[in-house]
Amino acid sequence: MGIGYAAIAIKAGMSPLQTVSMSFLVYAGAGQFIAASMLASSASLMAIILTQFVVNLRYFVMSTCVLNKVEESNLPLNIFAGHLTVDESFAMFSLSSESSIWTFMGIALIAWAGWCLGAAIGVVILDLLPVIVTNSFNISLYALFVAILVPSIKENKQIGILVLITMIMNAILTPIMGNWALIVSTLIGAGIGMYIVDDEYVLTGDA
């Protein structure tokens, strides 16, 4: 994924250093793809930053979930954990049985390093990779998401139904609301889940 981002960033006119710094400083999977593509189509600074804000607003929800699950931590660690909250680290930590801040930091630092390293590798070997290979790597993130989600669906049919409802809702809302759809579907989906998923399944442990 990091490699794929580098491909778009370089095409958008970013220098190798800028490409890697963006991965380090912004650290937002899909957000960086979008920012680089908008840069390539010479969008205005305001438009890029506003879109970025909307696309990455989900991290507010995700870092709230992560920090709410964590038992013991402190402010500097929480702030660092916040910066390292992305879809992957959030997903892997939320549905794992561990709730220590260090478990999250372990997962998250590896993901962050991997993302920055991917960008660095991308700017070097970019032209050598055929589209087929980069597209095939694009699936890896989705494969990870599916791999995290399936065991819960298998264990609880109500979660499965909730997942299906949310997917359909987001597929309908995406063409209408664009970048807002993801966060809206996530929140409405969780709201629906309050009524269709039994308390005991989701309230185990940290309630």
Partner: protein, 104 residues
């Protein structure tokens, strides 16, 4: 200042703020069990929304490429394959599919 640097710094700022706010206030908040349930459901709905319809745009021209990948990953996960294996096998399957597609 370079326009691209401004874009990077602006994006970094608006991405960091939503991540910072929960860190500042999480200790001062005590959530009700109902809201805890809501928060605990978010990982499932967020993953659902991230997967669909995004997975269909893995390849901009061939929507079914992503679908094949998702089905392969789901099948492997159902059979309790380890996570790393699921990701690697899915990527390999897609590279294989790409090599076959031109023959149809």
């Amino acid at each position: 200042m370079d326009y691209i640097n401004l874009v990077i710094l602006g994006c970094a700022l608006v991405t960091f703020i939503p991540r910072l706010i929960p860190a500042l206030f999480i200790d001062k908040l005590n959530f009700s069990p109902k809201f805890e349930k809501f928060l605990n459901l978010i990982p499932y709905t967020a993953l659902a929304a991230l997967i669909c319809p995004g997975v269909l745009t893995v390849d901009n021209q061939l929507w079914y490429i992503g679908l094949i990948g998702a089905v392969v990953a789901a099948g492997l996960a159902w059979k309790k394959a380890p996570m790393g294996a699921i990701v690697i096998i899915t990527v390999v399957v897609l590279i294989t599919v790409y090599s076959i597609v031109p023959f149809f």
